[in-house]
Symmetry: C2
Subunit: 161 residues, 2 copies
DNA sequence: ATGATATTGTTTCCTTGTCAACAATAAAAA
DNA sequence: TTTTTATTGTTGACAAGGAAACAATATCAT
């Protein structure tokens, strides 16, 4: 197995394990709320004027899925929607009291996760850290470019149909 | 944002982008087969005596989901099941001709993906590469330990109920 | 200003996966 | 051996998310 594969498999495996483990803990601490809802809350709390489209892009999900999710969350009283006077189309979300409370719990949990995994990061040197980050940044930019290309191809194809 | 967060977010973002992009390409090249099916084929091709349980563990999915997936794949003629003379319970899978053909296409696609992302890896030094891999290995082992702990807790909790 | 195009959010239908209960078999304990 | 426990795979009810069609609004080109 070569470099590329090893690194990609490493990414995938670590990410999967992390998601599995944290999801488990989270749904235990935040009973009654799904991990999707909690992610949504997290995003809304740190991005002003969040809307369906931005949430969907950030989570790699469809607008339809987010639309349903946020609708449920409004009904549950976790978030509320608002609009701007000069735009009758876009609908934004902000957290309610309840949403903020959940967010607080989630933040604490987050710290707990960091504490749990602290040892893994302890003896990374600054140099190692920087080299990893710059690699990831490069990778990410590359993928963005490829995704953009793909987007163009999709559009082109639709144009021909 | 601290080291841990940056790295984790990097993992997540790269992984998501990669999945999104490759899935897209794959379902374009392998029309009629879902990416789950292709992953299954990949696993079965490189693990002798694959069964529902092993597939489920490897994909972080439930046995139920894999059971349905493999059932469909058998019906489609992509894989076939077999048993061993001394075990009437376990059911194993292997690829059919058709499954092998799909696997071949997938492997080629895989090479294509590697070629696409080659540039990103080009100027990583051996040292950088080794340090990343050893970090990931450490992280992975840590998560395995934590997952195992979690498992114990689950069991304990059930015992009390 | 007006007509064409793009964006935003919603809904319906469908697929995929989870959960929980289950039967069949295997493994372990008595 | 017999009994108990664990493992394996399956199913049905359900929930989450994707795809596509849609209406409403905004943006752009002319």
């Amino acid at each position: 197995m070569n470099k590329e594969e090893q690194i990609i498999i490493g990414f995938r495996d670590i990410y999967n394990k992390l998601v599995w483990l944290n999801k488990f803990k989270m749904e235990d601490s935040l009973k009654g709320y799904t991990s999707s809802e909690v992610h949504c809350i997290e995003y809304i709390s740190s991005n002003v004027d969040s809307n369906v489209t931005k949430l969907a892009e950030s989570f790699y999900m469809t607008r339809g899925a987010i639309s349903k999710l946020t609708k449920k969350m409004v009904e549950k009283g976790i978030i509320e929607s608002y609009q701007k006077p000069d735009n009758k189309k876009e609908i934004y979300f902000r957290l309610t009291e309840q949403g903020n409370a959940i967010n607080k719990i989630h933040e604490d949990l987050h710290d707990e996760f960091q504490a749990r995994d602290k040892a893994v990061f302890e003896d990374i040197t600054e140099a190692q850290f920087d080299s990893m980050l710059s690699f990831m940044e490069k990778y990410r930019r590359h993928l963005d470019t490829e995704i953009k290309k793909q987007g163009v191809n999709i559009t082109n194809r639709n144009d021909l149909e």
